[in-house]
Symmetry: C2
Subunit: 584 residues, 2 copies
C-alpha cells in the first residue's frame, strides 16, 4: 500500500476550490493508495458560528450532495481518500436546527458515496478553541481496513489526553490490543513557536505505544489571527520519515512506512489542563536572579518572520488588498513592521510608508525613516500634523472655552495620525498594518483610535524585547534593512518634548519579564516581588495592565505566535474589582 499526504491550503468555505482539488487528486490517484487530507478539509477551520448559520449549512449540504453524485459516478478503483468534514444531524428534517454537528473523517472510495467512519473524541475547548460549543464528541474507536492494512484513526486533539474530560483516544486504541500497520492523525492544528517539538515527541510516544508508524497531516492557512503551518510529518517509531514544508501547500507519496521502534515503556500521558498548556517563558526564575524573558534564538526569529509574512499575506489575499500602508514614526516597531511587509511582498503588490511629524518629532526620526524607505525602495509620504494640531488647539479654546493640555494634547496628535493614515488607506485602497507591540498592548501604552489603529497586527504577540531580537535577526539575515540608529535609540512616543517611554514605564527588559509572569497567568504580583522584581515596578505594570482591557477589546486581530496571546483566546472582563491584583 502507498500513502499520499495532502497538506492542503484552502480558504474557509471555498467549496468550489476544495471540490476542484478533490477531483484532481482522485483523477490522479494510483491503485492501492491511501490518501490522507487534513481535518475539516471539506470546510476549512475554524468555522465558529458559520457552522450554525443557515446559509452555510445549506451550501455545505449541497456541496456534500455534489460530492456524492460525482463520487458514485466514478469508475470503481481500489484507492481510498480520508478527509475531514462535518456531519450534521438535525432536529426534524434538514430544515430544522442542528441537533448534532460532528467533526468526522470521511472515507471516499471511487464509485461509492462518502461515508463518515470516525468522529473526533477529544474536542479542544481551551484558549482559542471552542469546539465543545459547536461539536458533539464521538465515543467510538476508529479503525479502517484497506489493502490488508489495519489503520488506526485520530483527529487532531485526539492525540492528547485530558484528565478533566477523562478522554484518552490513544489509550482507547491501545486497549483494543490489535496489530496496527499505521496510525493516522488528520489535523487542523494552529501554529505556535514551540509546538512542533511537542507534536513530534508525543508522536514518537504514540508510535511506540501502538507499535505502528504515525502520520500527522496538518492544513495550511492563515485565518485572521490563527495560522496553520502545515509541517505534516511521519515517525516510524524512532525517527521522522518525512516532514513537509512550513506555511505552504505540499504533498508527498511513498510506500507505507514500517514500524521501526522497539516496544518501549513510555507512559507519559500528557495532561491537557488548561493552564498546563501555557508556561512562563522566563529564565533565571530559580537561582536567585530576577527572572528575565527568554531571548529569541535565530531559529525562533526565522519562524516568526515566516509566520508573520505568511499571516499578513493571507489576511490581505482574503480581504482583496494588494497594497499596504504603514505609519512610520522613526521608532523600531513601525520599522520592523515595514521590514516584515517588504520581506512578504509578492509580485504586483505595493507598499508605502507615511511619515507624520509633529513639533516633537526629532530629526533622527525623519532621517532614519527616509533612509529605511530608500534602502527598501518604497515611497514615503510626509504629512506634517503641526498645522492641524494647532488648529484643533485653537478651535477647542474658542468653541469649548477650555485649552487642550497634557494627555488630551498627546492623544490628539496620535489620533490625527490615525485619521490621516486611514484617509490614505481609503484613497489608495491600501491595507493599514498596525504597529503596536505586546508590551504596549499589555500596559495600554497607546492611544485608542490613534496609533492603535490597523486591520491586523503583526507585533501584538511580541514583547518589545522580542521586537529588538527579531529586528537584529532580520538585519543580520537579510542585509541591514533597518537603520541601526532606529534600533539603538531610546524608545519614545514623541508626543511631548523630550519624552521617553521610560518616563512612564519601567525599562522594557524588566517590564517584559513582569508581563510574561502575569500574562502566562502563572505569577501573581506578590510572587513577582518574591522573585526579586522591584515592588514599585510590579505595581506600576499591574496597575496599567488591569485598567486597560477597554483598549484591548477594540484592538484589531493579532497574528498569534505564542501559546497564550491577546486576542480571541484571551477572555478577561473589562470591568471588575481588580484591587486584589495589588494584594496577591
Amino acid at each position: 500500500m502507498r500513502i499520499s499526504i495532502h497538506q492542503t491550503h484552502h480558504t474557509v468555505a471555498a467549496f468550489d476550490d476544495i471540490f476542484k482539488y478533490l477531483k484532481q487528486a482522485v483523477g490522479d490517484s494510483k491503485e492501492d493508495t491511501l490518501h490522507l487530507l487534513p481535518e475539516l478539509f471539506l470546510t476549512g477551520y475554524p468555522l465558529q458560528d458559520l457552522c450554525l448559520q443557515r446559509s452555510f449549512i445549506d451550501a455545505y449540504l449541497e456541496f456534500q450532495k455534489e460530492i456524492n453524485d460525482w463520487s458514485t459516478s466514478l469508475q470503481k478503483q481500489n484507492t481510498c481518500f480520508l478527509f475531514g468534514g462535518l456531519d450534521y444531524q438535525f432536529c426534524g428534517d434538514t430544515d430544522g436546527v442542528p441537533r448534532n454537528i460532528k467533526n468526522v473523517i470521511y472515507k471516499l472510495i471511487p464509485g461509492q458515496k462518502i461515508e463518515a467512519i470516525y468522529t473526533k473524541k477529544l474536542l479542544p475547548n481551551y484558549d482559542i478553541f471552542d469546539e465543545e460549543k459547536y461539536f458533539t464528541k464521538g465515543d467510538k474507536t476508529g479503525v479502517l481496513n484497506f489493502c490488508n492494512h489495519k489503520i488506526a484513526l485520530l483527529i487532531c486533539e485526539d492525540m492528547w489526553h485530558s484528565s478533566v474530560h477523562q478522554i484518552d483516544p490513544v489509550s482507547d486504541l491501545e486497549s483494543l490490543n490489535q496489530k496496527f500497520d499505521l496510525v493516522v492523525n488528520l489535523s487542523a492544528s494552529p501554529f505556535n513557536l514551540h509546538k512542533n517539538d511537542k507534536r513530534t515527541q508525543r508522536s514518537l510516544e504514540i508510535a511506540n505505544r501502538l507499535n505502528a508508524p504515525y502520520v500527522y497531516v496538518n492544513r495550511v492557512g492563515g485565518e485572521d489571527e490563527i495560522l496553520f503551518d502545515g509541517n505534516s510529518f511521519c515517525v516510524d517509531g524512532t525517527k521522522e520519515v518525512f516532514n513537509l514544508k512550513s506555511f505552504q501547500q505540499d504533498m508527498i507519496e511513498l510506500e507505507c512506512p514500517i514500524y521501526n521502534g522497539e516496544k518501549s515503556l513510555i507512559n507519559s500521558k500528557i495532561e491537557n489542563t488548561w493552564e498546563g498548556l501555557f508556561s512562563a517563558n522566563l529564565i533565571d526564575t530559580q537561582n536567585g536572579h530576577i527572572p528575565k524573558l527568554k531571548p529569541l534564538d535565530d531559529n525562533l526569529c526565522q519562524s516568526i518572520v515566516d509566520a508573520l509574512c505568511f499571516g499578513v499575506q493571507e489576511y490581505a489575499k482574503k480581504s482583496y488588498f494588494k497594497k499596504f500602508v504603514v505609519a512610520l514614526s522613526g521608532g523600531l516597531d513601525s520599522a520592523l513592521v515595514l521590514a516584515l511587509l517588504k520581506l512578504s511582498l509578492k509580485k504586483g503588490q505595493e507598499l508605502e510608508a507615511i511619515f507624520m511629524p509633529s513639533q516633537y518629532t526629532r530629526d533622527i526620526s525623519y532621517d532614519a525613516s527616509k533612509e529605511m524607505c530608500k534602502r527598501i525602495n518604497i515611497p514615503m509620504h510626509v504629512i506634517p500634523i503641526m498645522g492641524a494640531h494647532n488648529y484643533f488647539r485653537d478651535m477647542f479654546k474658542e468653541k469649548v472655552g477650555e485649552s487642550i493640555e497634557g494627555l488630551t494634547d498627546e492623544n490628539i496628535q496620535s489620533r490625527l495620525r490615525g485619521l490621516l493614515l486611514y484617509a490614505r488607506s481609503n484613497q489608495s485602497d491600501a491595507l493599514v498594518i498596525n504597529t503596536s507591540n505586546k508590551s504596549e498592548l499589555a500596559v495600554g501604552y497607546s492611544t485608542i483610535y490613534g496609533d492603535s489603529v490597523g486591520a491586523i497586527s503583526l507585533l501584538g504577540d511580541l514583547y518589545k524585547s522580542e521586537v529588538f531580537d527579531v529586528s537584529r535577526y532580520i538585519n543580520k539575515k537579510y542585509g541591514e534593512i533597518i537603520p541601526v540608529e532606529i534600533i539603538d535609540r531610546p524608545p519614545s512616543a514623541e508626543l511631548r518634548a523630550d519624552q521617553e517611554d521610560t518616563d512612564s514605564l519601567p525599562p522594557y527588559d524588566r517590564m517584559d519579564a513582569i508581563l510574561e509572569g502575569i500574562l502566562s497567568y502563572r505569577l501573581s504580583g506578590k510572587k513577582l516581588v518574591e522573585l526579586g522584581h522591584d515592588p514599585i515596578e510590579v505595581e506600576t505594570v499591574l496597575n496599567l495592565y488591569r485598567k486597560t482591557e477597554y483598549k484591548r477589546i477594540q484592538f484589531c486581530p493579532i497574528i498569534k505566535l505564542k501559546s497564550k496571546s491577546f486576542g480571541f483566546g484571551y477572555r478577561v472582563p473589562i470591568t471588575k474589582d481588580s484591587t486584589y491584583y495589588m494584594k496577591s
Copy 2:
C-alpha cells in the same frame, strides 16, 4: 423553616464587599432560616480567564480562608446559608495549575467551615457562555436536609436539559423518588427580553414534576455587555409566590412556601440545542406576506429602557466615570442615546452633547439638537468640522498629490468627529457613549474610528426600526424628550450633499426583517427570497453583511438585549470565502 432570598449586587471579584454582605447577613439571621444567595456569589460572574490567573486564584483562596476562620469563630446557630462559589483542585499543591474548577453551592452554618455540597452539572457553553472551557461538571445529585426539610439543589442551567450532552439534572432529581419540600436554584442568569416568561414556565413545570415549590435566586449586575436582572421568584406549583425587583439588589424573607399544585403530566423537556435557543423575531413568515420584524410593545420598550439605563450606569460606575458625552448629529440614534442617558442620570453625574456640523449638515439638525438639549437641560458644545475638513483636503492635495473624494472624503468627516469627541472626553474626563444601531453594525454602515467610536454601545442590539419604537415610547412615557422632527425626518449620515440612508440601503423596515432572518442564523438568502423579499435587496444586505466583520471585530461592547446579539457571543471569522451567501 423560614427562607430568605438574597438578590445580591456585587462587582466581580469585589471580595471585601462580598465578605461584608455575608457577615451582615449572618449577623442578622434568625434561627431556623435557610438563606439563599446567587450562583458564584463569592466571585461574581462571568469571570472568564480571571479564574485561571494566579493573582485571582491566590486572592480567592485567601478570601475562602478568611471566611472559614470567621465562620468557625462564630457561635453555633441553626441557620444555613447557601451560596455559589468556585471549588479549586490543583495539580500538586495549591501553587500548581488548576486541575479542576467546580462551580458549586457552598453551605455555611455558623461555627463550621463552609462546605461544597453540590457541583453544577449542566455547564452552559453556547453563545456568550464558555463554562465548559473553565469548569468541570458535577455528576452527583444535590439534596440538603435542614430543619426537617428536604431541599433539592440546582445551579442555574441545571434547570434546563441538553440532549447533546445527555444531561438532565431535573430528571435526575425526579428519579430519586423522594418527597422534596423545596427545590432551590441559585443562578447567575443573563438578561434578555423574552427570558422571564421562559424561566417561569419551566419553573412551574419543575415544581409540578418534583411536587415542591421552586425558588429561583438570581444575581444583579452589569458586566460589560451582559446584564443580570435579578427578578428572583418562587412558584408554589400553580402561581408565583413572590417576584423580586428588576435590576436592583432586593431581599425577601418568608415562611417556606408549600406545594400547591396538582401532579400534572407535563413532560415537555425543553432541549437546549444551540440554535434552538434563538428564533427569528419575525411575523408574517407563514401567511404569504413578506416577513416583518415584530414591533416592540410598551412592556418590551420599558424593559429596554430599564436595561440600558442600568447597563450604562454599571459600566460607568465600574470604570469610575461620572460624566458622559455624546456626539449629537440631529439624527434619531444619537438623540435616543442622549435621552436614555438623561433618564439614567444619578445625582452628581453630568451629561453633555457635542454637535459637530459639516458643510452638509442641514439646519434642522442643528435646530432639533439644540431644542433637545434645551428640553433635557444639558450643555451642547458646537464644534464645526468644515475648517479642519478643508484643511485636510488641501494638505492631501499638496503633500500626497492626490485629491480627496468620495468615500475617503466622507470618512474624514466622520473620523474628525471621532477625534474631537475623544479630545473632549479626555479633556472633561467623560465617558463616550457610542450611538450605532444594530442595523448599521450589520451592514457596516458606519466609519471605523469615526462614528463607530465609544466605550460602550446602548443601541447595538436594536435594529433601526426598534430605535423608532423605543424613541416613540420614551416620548409617550416621559414627556416629549426627543423633538418629533428628529423622529420623522428621513435617516441620513449627512456626509455628502442630499445624502439619505436609502441611497445605499433598502428601507429600514424591509432591511431589518432581512437582517433578523440572517442574524438569527435561521434564514438563508435563498429562503428570504422564497419568503417574498426582493432579491436585489437581499443580495445588497448579504453583500454588505459578509464584508464587514472587520468593523464589528473592533467595535465596543454592546449591551445585550436579545438572545442572539453581536458581541462576545457572536463568533464569525473575518476572512472566509463567502460567495456561498449569494447562492444559498
